[in-house]
């Protein structure tokens, strides 16, 4: 048998390990018998490792989701994810990145909208943790700005925004503190969350007010300082808008949320 055919057959055997009624994998015909053990048991070492390793990756990335769903519930969900999202990356880090979307779009989990948002919360923390490095925009940079109205600010690559429509954040907090999580609640207004990386390289998050989130989101789109002031002016006193915008800028700069252009 050609090497390519053998590998194709081996991989099919691995991936069929979790399918009901898949029967004996054809690769067993190509495997030597062993004096000590049945060859399906020996091939089963690879089959089991395939699924268990991928589940382990998901457990590592979404540990609070596992706490929330329980071992059995998480295992069932993970196996369903693995069946439709086999790993296509050379790095395990990226295997679970599709989980929030999977939970949002796949029944029965899509019927519990807090699940996708719990996963999205953890994914944002992970993404912030190892996002690209970049120089921060500092007070020294600010001192060199000559055209304030035209100043375009840039979000640091480790910053991510998330809007939550459920009380997933409260559920998550309860899980973290090992309390009974509250029941699902659909929020009247989405909560605005910002994820970022602290100076000591830890992932952080905080809830933004409606106005700050709006200004942040517009900044990310490339709206300059004058434009941000205009937007703020619609929501508050026109004369105070530049001071408010400057206040946000100062706070973001102090928290290392901005990137040097």
């Amino acid at each position: 048998m050609k090497l390519a055919d053998l590998q194709d057959m081996f991989q099919r055997g691995l991936m069929s390990g979790d399918q009901e009624g898949a029967g004996q994998p054809a690769i067993l015909d190509e495997v030597n018998t062993s004096d000590k053990e049945q060859k399906d048991v020996l091939f089963g070492v690879y089959q089991n490792a395939y699924v268990l390793r991928l589940i382990e990756f998901l457990q590592g990335d979404y540990d609070l989701l596992e706490t929330y769903l329980g071992d059995e519930g998480f295992d069932e969900m993970a196996r369903a994810y693995i069946a439709v999202h086999p790993s296509t990356s050379h790095n395990a880090r990226w295997f679970g990145t599709g989980l929030p979307d999977f939970l949002k779009n796949t029944a029965p989990w899509s019927g519990l909208p807090q699940l996708a948002e719990l996963a999205a919360f953890d994914k944002a923390l992970l993404d912030s943790f190892d996002a690209a490095d970049a120089l921060h925009f500092t007070p020294e940079d600010m001192a060199g700005v000559t055209d304030f109205p035209g100043l375009v600010l840039h979000s640091h690559p480790a910053c991510f925004r998330l809007d939550l429509k459920t009380n997933a954040a409260a559920i998550r907090e309860a899980l973290q503190e090992e309390h009974e999580p509250p029941a699902l609640e659909m929020l009247e207004e989405p909560q605005k969350w910002l994820f970022y990386r602290s100076a000591d390289m830890q992932s952080m998050y905080r809830q933004l007010g409606y106005e700050e989130a709006m200004v942040w989101d517009e900044m990310v789109k490339g709206v300059n300082f004058a434009g941000l002031c205009e937007i703020l002016a619609h929501y508050s006193n026109e004369e105070e808008a530049p001071m408010q915008a400057a206040g946000y800028l100062q706070n973001w700069m102090a928290a290392d949320l901005l990137m040097k252009a």
């Binding site: 090497l3 790993s87 050379h90 390289m201």
Partner: protein, 285 residues
């Protein structure tokens, strides 16, 4: 081709770098970490855009020699070489400046999928030729010889036309690649397939062997699984002793990937290897 590249210098005794030990390694009190001569990193753990993983790695690199150990090169796969992976690997290599890079004699997937496992290759002339060609391609791309490790295996194939040690030796001879001899893996495979592990060791080309791995495993009675979640067992220590007799001073490290104990406990195992090596080589001088 890197047929005559110089063998890297002996590094002494090291450990696989694990995040659980960062605090001890970088703390003000060197403690157990002072005994460690070098670290092996899992390349893929640091093939990320930035942030804490690379930040910590840069600090550790300032204090210790590093070698890079990958799990996704998939050198035995019939899928095309993943050039994106190789470019990322090269980028990390430039940052880390490792003493050498290694991966496994295995394949990890075909058809664009990654099984995230070290899958067995048949020991055939076709596989040998295929893998030798790819090793040379990788070495040409990186501009240096790479080291390849024997993986633990649980099945062998009817199409096998040679022994594993013949296959590994021939790979080294055809490509000039170096060998990372995993003593535990030799033991695991010898148990699973019923061969003499010393015969395997004796067949390894001495000049090519640059590194030893020592690790624990799980014995299921009828077969052993390479789990890296236990201390090294006596049988593997015994085989390590034989390896030291055969190969002399070879950079040696303890691999622990699960149930990771405190650093001091892994250092105790590492020191056992150092003492054994010293005793054996001292007696042979």
């Amino acid at each position: 081709m890197y047929m005559n590249s110089e063998k890297p210098k002996y590094l002494g005794f090291g450990l696989g770098l694990r995040t659980e030990h960062y605090g001890d390694i970088l703390g003000d009190d060197p403690g157990s970490a002072a005994a460690i001569d070098w670290f092996e990193i899992i390349s893929e753990n640091y093939m990320v855009p930035g942030g804490r993983p690379l930040y910590m790695l840069d600090q550790i690199k300032e204090r210790y020699p590093l070698v890079m150990h990958g799990v996704s090169l998939s050198i035995g796969s019939t899928a095309p070489l993943n050039m994106d992976y190789l470019k990322e690997l090269q980028k990390l290599e430039k940052r880390v400046q490792p003493k050498w890079l290694s991966d496994h004699i295995c394949w990890t997937g075909v058809h664009g999928k990654n099984m995230h496992d070290l899958l067995p290759v048949p020991y055939t002339e076709e596989a040998l030729e295929h893998m030798a060609g790819r090793i040379s391609q990788v070495q040409d791309f990186l501009g240096r010889s790479i080291a390849l490790e024997n993986a633990s295996t649980y099945v062998t194939f009817k199409s096998d036309a040679m022994t594993e040690w013949e296959f590994v030796g021939e790979l080294a001879a055809r490509t000039g690649c170096m060998l990372l001899c995993d003593i535990n893996n030799i033991y695991v495979s010898s148990f699973n397939h019923g061969f003499d592990p010393v015969t395997y060791l004796e067949a390894m080309p001495k000049q090519a062997v640059v590194q030893f791995h020592l690790a624990g495993h799980t014995n299921n009675g009828t077969h052993i699984i390479d789990t890296h979640d236990h201390p090294v067992v006596d049988e593997v220590w015994e085989l390590y002793g034989k390896a030291v007799q055969l190969f002399g001073e070879v950079s040696t490290m303890i691999e622990r990937d699960d149930n990771i104990p405190p650093l001091k406990d892994v250092v105790v195992e590492m020191e056992r290897a150092r003492t054994m090596s010293k005793d054996i080589l001292g007696a042979n001088v």
